[in-house]
């Protein structure tokens, strides 16, 4: 039996891949209790929640660990990367607001990935 991902689930995966590809982002930061976690098929995607927004699209919240770099410009780059990836996937209309939450900073990427 095959399971095709819903738009919401696809968006969660796209957002995480886009965010973690931005320089300065070290990884996703899973919240205690899995508040910002999305089940996408068999995959449990931590650090992201995608919910129906007030408009037509879905609102995305990303919880990130980052290097100690200016965080607001980094958040803007993350938003841009999410929208860009969604556009490539043909889901640009599905993206509403993209909230970025920095939950941790690490002073070297190797520490975060250990």
């Amino acid at each position: 039996m095959t399971y095709s991902l819903s738009t919401r689930e696809q968006l969660a995966l796209i957002a995480v891949r886009a965010a973690t590809g931005v320089e300065g982002v070290v990884g996703m930061h899973a919240q205690p209790g899995g508040v910002h976690t999305t089940q996408a098929g068999a995959e449990r995607v931590g650090g992201v929640s995608v919910v129906a927004g007030h408009g037509e699209g879905f609102d995305v919240t990303l919880c990130l660990s980052a290097l100690p770099v200016p965080l607001h410009p980094l958040a803007a780059r993350v938003r841009s990367a999410v929208r860009s990836r969604a556009q490539i996937a043909g889901l640009s209309a599905a993206v509403g607001v993209v909230d970025v939450r920095f939950d941790a900073v690490v002073d070297s990427p190797s520490v975060a990935r250990a």
């Binding site: 770099v69 607001v97 993209v98 920095f102 939950d103 002073d107």
Partner: protein, 144 residues
């Protein structure tokens, strides 16, 4: 909670910067960590935290739940401003007023640059002096 660290946020839990494309929030722990890293960059600062918090911190670090970079750092974070309290151990011979001034400059600069928050105050408590040779010498191994 990390040893020796208090992160009280009576004003707000996060510091949002809203735009029409989304909101950016920064957790208090991020501001604490940035302040701790910035404080350690200042020459003359030997360690952060009081005696008890450093002792407890060394235990929690050994079991992997503590982070010495946030020891002795307490922050209060509002929507657009932050206040920082630091408890430090200073190297003997350093000028306390000069080190405190450099701490204020560096911590404010780093927090403002990284988080965009305006730092309203950096309070510094010098808890102890460190003399060269204060470290416990490593014990010689009993076997070769």
């Amino acid at each position: 909670m990390e040893a020796g660290t208090t992160t009280s946020s009576s004003l707000a839990k996060t510091a949002p910067l809203a735009s029409d494309k989304g909101k950016t929030s920064i957790a208090d722990g991020v501001v604490t960590k940035v302040a701790g890293i910035a404080a350690r960059e200042v020459p003359g600062v030997y360690a952060l935290g009081g005696g008890a918090s450093r002792a407890l911190g060394s235990v929690t670090q050994r079991v992997g739940i503590g982070d010495e970079r946030t020891q002795g750092v307490s922050v209060e974070v509002g929507e657009v401003e932050a206040a920082v309290d630091l408890t430090i151990v200073i190297e003997y011979g350093e000028s306390i007023p000069q080190v405190a001034e450099q701490l204020r400059d560096n911590v404010s600069k780093r927090i403002e640059n990284i988080t965009g928050l305006k730092v309203t105050e950096v309070n510094v408590t010098v808890n102890d002096l460190h003399f060269p040779g204060d470290e416990q010498p490593a014990e010689d191994p009993r076997v070769a």
